[in-house]
Symmetry: C2
């Protein structure tokens, strides 16, 4: 057992015809990856699936079993292409039920601009948790969660606000990272990296060619939850690379 | 059978610990989505998986069966974290073999800067096609393909050059798109959209709330390969939305 493998894991499922068709830039997975990483959660999968109930359900069912936490982004709203809630209910073989508290809230907030269809946003998978934050202004609108699946909206500014309501649930030991810039190419430094990867099984060693960088050819990354191991692995690589090291960050 | 469903389909598998850890911005899927879309290929899945052979193999195997074309991005190079070739070979239960022509090319191009480890880049799944483009300067370095899986590198500028070598293979009927901007919110226009989606099964109708836009609340998209149907569906939605229409593009 290495320590890195004990980090809580997560998957992000983006429900997004608009991403698959190249119409909008994907911002939600990028945001969640960074937030979760900072919390010490290892994102192990990002999947972008179309707005189709069966495909969303299959992805959610599989991810829910394979990872500690699952976050869905998008497909919740009053229009025909918003099928995430039904899909998640199908994934867990539970019916969709209308939450009367949410329905009242929608009617109250909408006022004169209320449309019957807006009530679709009060539909939840049976047995779902409605998580409310401490910020009273926003907390009336809960984050819907069922088992280990958290249902987030597709509009980036709202997703970010919703995630803030639940982020403390995922706090774990943070990652420690070092970056080493090499003026030699990957072929020249691969043996050193291989050795460090073998010697420090709880540290992740990555290498990324930077073809257009003015002063280096490869960025080497050294990451792990065990800070002492990260420092030792980094030192070993720096020694191995010798004069190839441009700088360490 | 609706016409939209006959579009060739594709999946993009990004091999990317660096994406999952938020270290680099994902550019390759975004590029491929737009290119394929312009060619008339419907991208139905984007998956970001870690640099782990078994996980890559499972994703490739599944996508190869489910979609017409599969593109992998990343994980090909001489370092320990480059496992894509071995993973794809495992996905199809074939061995990895060293291509002697590629090995000679690597030796020749590397000259004095040759490292034995660079030869790993001459390894291919047995039975792979080595596709060379017509541009003689770059065509010496082929795109490796096996069955319906095309193996692309992770460095965006090289991926783009490689894709240019194979893009004509995927040319199909292009998509036709219209965009309608609505000053009314989703609840107010959902019925009209639902009706158009039902009346034109070969047209995809999407709706995206734009909370921060100064002049509209929702972007409605109307897409399909049958241009006449797209035009008719768009006209029906514009009529249904009436004074809510800000503009049509």
């Amino acid at each position: 057992m290495n320590q890195a493998s004990r980090a809580p894991t997560a998957a992000i499922i983006v429900i997004g015809d608009e991403v698959l068709s190249g119409k909008v830039e994907e911002l939600n997975a990028r945001f969640l990856v960074r937030e979760l990483r900072a919390l010490g959660v290892a994102v192990r999968r990002i999947e972008v699936v179309p707005d189709l109930r069966e495909e969303i359900a299959a992805a959610v069912r599989k991810a829910s079993v394979a990872f500690d936490h699952v976050f869905t982004a998008g497909g919740i709203g009053p229009t025909h292409d918003d099928v995430t809630i039904a899909a998640i209910a199908a994934a867990f073989a539970v019916p969709v039920v209308r939450d009367s508290g949410l329905a009242d809230l929608i009617r109250e907030v909408s006022g004169e601009r209320f449309f019957e269809r807006d009530l679709r946003m009060a539909d939840v998978p049976e047995g779902a948790d409605l998580i409310r934050g401490e910020d009273t202004r926003h907390s009336r609108w809960p984050v819907i969660a069922i088992r280990n699946v958290y249902v987030l909206p597709g509009v980036p500014s709202i997703l970010q606000r919703k995630f803030a309501m639940i982020r403390e649930r995922f706090a774990a030991a943070p990652f420690h990272c070092r970056q080493i810039y090499s003026r030699e190419s990957e072929g020249a430094i691969a043996d050193t990296l291989d050795r460090a990867a073998a010697d420090f099984p709880n540290v992740a060693v990555g290498s990324y060619p930077h073809l257009d960088a003015p002063d280096h050819k490869v960025l080497v990354t050294v990451d792990g939850r065990d800070e002492a191991a990260v420092v030792r692995a980094c030192a070993q690589i720096v020694t191995g690379l010798g004069s190839a090291v441009v700088r360490v960050e």
